[in-house]
């Protein structure tokens, strides 16, 4: 088990290296930040001095290895906008983003599992059709649009919840709903299709043949087997959700990683962009490792190693 985790961690290194390289090159293409940092009225001499000081006149490879060297020590450079190191700035925002993403996932699971099971056990019925149509609708709504609609209805018209910002549970409700709805739809469809397939398996017939109650057959024998595909998709969805969180955070002025990243891109605060992309990449990789370990715990047939 320990060697498996160590092996997986080692596999992440080339992936991370690739991501760092791509982000470095993107920033290089976008152009130098010096004119932005110094403002419109800087003299050419000032710009040249600054460029020299930042090493922007070095050949690409030299710049790349210098950059790599400092990244390895956890130094992504300083944010010119906040005048502080970029990495701690990014790490500070993680709890807010995770709160939003975990909230959205939990909401999605709480809705999706009962709904998917319900639809699967009444396949072809009214409930099943209603659930299918609703999930298509929910999946089709972009979350930024849903977010704006939710703000209009619940914050502006009904004035039940705050428009945006953070600080209380009430602030969390609308962004979580905006972000979680699409995921809920996705997982509902998955739970339904997994359960439909599982309920036709021989071991379900065996369970019924033993005279077990319908509830036990569905929630113990069938749902346990649906857990494997549902977990894998849920964790993949979590990665997608981190992407969705970027936009949702902007809509709701939620002080998370997404808001920071979007602002950093528009301000060309490249140290922050690089640090944020790196951190998100690490999170996504960690999630895939967690999902594999969870499988191992649920399904003993998957032998890791």
């Amino acid at each position: 088990m320990g060697t498996y985790i160590a092996g997986r961690l080692a596999q992440m290194i080339p992936t991370l290296l690739l991501i760092i390289t791509i982000v470095f090159l993107l920033v290089y293409i976008v152009g130098d930040p010096v004119s932005l940092m110094l403002g419109e009225h800087a003299t050419p001499e000032q710009v040249a001095t600054m460029r020299e000081a930042m090493g922007l006149n070095d050949p690409l490879l030299v710049q790349y290895f210098n950059y790599l060297g400092s990244v390895l020590t956890g130094d992504f450079g300083d944010s010119y906008r906040y005048n502080q190191a970029a990495l701690p700035l990014v790490l500070d925002r993680i709890p807010a983003t995770l709160t939003l993403a975990i909230g959205a996932i939990l909401l999605a699971l709480v809705i999706a599992i009962p709904l998917g099971v319900w639809a699967a056990t009444r396949r072809g019925g009214v409930v099943d059709s209603a659930v299918s149509s609703l999930s298509v609708l929910a999946k089709a709504m972009p979350n930024f649009w849903l977010g704006i609609m939710l703000i209009l209805l619940f914050a502006v018209v009904l004035q039940w919840l705050p428009v945006s910002g953070s600080g209380s549970w009430a602030h969390l409700v609308l962004p979580v709903v905006a972000l979680g709805t699409g995921t809920a739809a996705e997982i509902t469809r998955l739970v339904r299709s997994s359960m439909v397939e599982i309920l036709s398996q021989d071991y379900i017939r065996t369970a019924r043949g033993k005279g077990l109650r319908q509830r036990v057959v569905v929630y113990k024998h069938a749902l346990l087997n649906a857990f494997v595909p549902v977990t894998s998709i849920t964790i993949l969805q979590f990665s997608t959700l981190l992407g969705g969180a970027l936009i949702t955070e902007v809509v709701f002025s939620w002080p998370g990683l997404g808001q920071l990243l979007v602002n950093a891109v528009s301000m060309r605060d490249m140290a922050v962009v690089q640090a944020a992309v790196f951190v998100i990449a690490v999170m996504v990789l960690a999630l895939s490792l967690i999902s594999d370990l969870l499988f191992k715990a649920v399904d003993r047939r998957i032998s890791l190693g």
């Binding site: 071991y203 017939r205 065996t206 005279g211 346990l224 087997n225 003993r300 047939r301």
Partner: protein, 325 residues
């Protein structure tokens, strides 16, 4: 005589699609006494498994009992509600299935799955271990901790048998229990089922397409063809002197010890599909003895404890005597 344990009369099971209904079992009758071992034999598509599943109330959604009666210890199962039927399953009527590889939940330990079955009949760990020992496991506590994928097909089928019998049901339904197993394992499992049925006084209804299975296990046999029982009687008598040309054809198409034939017979043609069924004998298109008379509904000829549905039993008997000479 008291009422038999299970009595199926004129059972009709149909596939109902919108308003149309297509029978797949059409007027099957059989009965099982306490502790009796009964076989239901026939080709694929003859309706033997469906008959078995209807007694369990476990028909797939697409099939429904549309006529006839299934009585278990005097109560009418077709009229029993789903909940009452569920309570019968396990402690009263248990079942083992054709596919031991897929019939156990892959994620639950054998122990957990046996415990559920035992719990339905108020049996405990002691009964579970005892039953695992009886079905031939050397180390029952170890088996309890294992999961299905760690066991072979034969072991899994023995687990299924233990699971079915741990609640001491009065009736065991076995749907082709040895079909998916190796030949050597087949006879072990059959012997085990025979011994347990004898020791526990459990009646067995075994569904099979294999006459050698029937010979090894059953006392009574019902031969099904195209949704009907065409011949019934004690196994030894039916297999020695069949009273229906279909049973004769089945026997001729199976190899046996000391066989001196150069080639096996095969039955020409295929089983007619339900939409081709009519009043007449359904075997007539493949029967060597068929005449125009066979287009009429065949009579049910009963003699002692044997019965068959055929117009030409006398000609069949004459042929058998000819062949014996």
């Amino acid at each position: 005589m008291s009422e038999p344990l299970l009595k199926i009369q004129n059972l009709q099971v149909s596939a109902t699609r919108s308003s149309a209904k297509l029978p797949v079992v059409d007027g099957a009758s059989l009965s099982i006494e306490r502790g009796e071992r009964v076989a239901l034999v026939g080709e694929s598509g003859s309706g033997k498994s469906v008959t078995c599943f209807s007694a369990m109330g476990l028909l797939p959604e697409s099939l429904q009992v549309t006529d006839g009666s299934i009585r278990y210890q005097g109560s009418e199962l077709t009229a029993l509600g789903a909940e009452k039927l569920r309570r019968l399953r396990g402690p009263e009527i248990a079942m083992i299935y054709q596919e031991p590889l897929t019939s156990l939940n892959p994620l639950l330990t054998i122990g957990a799955q046996l415990k559920e079955a035992a719990g339905r009949a108020k049996a405990g760990r002691r009964e579970i271990l005892e039953m695992l020992d009886r079905v031939g496991f050397a180390d029952p506590p170890r088996i309890l901790r294992q999961r299905p994928h760690e066991l072979s097909g034969g072991m899994r089928q023995r687990v299924m048998i233990a699971m079915a019998l741990v609640g001491r049901p009065k009736l065991l339904l076995a749907d082709e229990p040895t079909t998916a197993l190796d030949v050597t394992i087949q006879s072990q499992v059959l012997k085990l089922m025979y011994d347990l049925s004898y020791d526990l006084d459990t009646a067995v209804l075994i569904v099979s397409h294999d006459l050698s299975v029937v010979r090894k296990l059953a006392d009574t046999v019902h031969v099904m063809y195209a949704g009907q029982v065409v011949e019934s009687g004690p196994v030894k008598e039916v297999l020695a002197t069949p009273r229906h040309p279909y049973t004769q054809a089945l026997l001729d198409s199976a190899p046996h010890m000391g066989d001196t034939r150069d080639r096996l017979e095969s039955i020409p043609g295929i089983v007619p599909t339900p939409d081709q069924w009519d009043q007449g004998c359904r075997f007539r298109s493949r029967c060597p003895l068929a005449t125009e008379q066979c287009e009429q509904r065949p009579p049910k000829v009963e003699e002692d404890d044997r019965a068959s549905m055929c117009w030409h039993i006398d000609r069949l008997v004459a042929r058998q005597q000819e062949a014996a000479v």
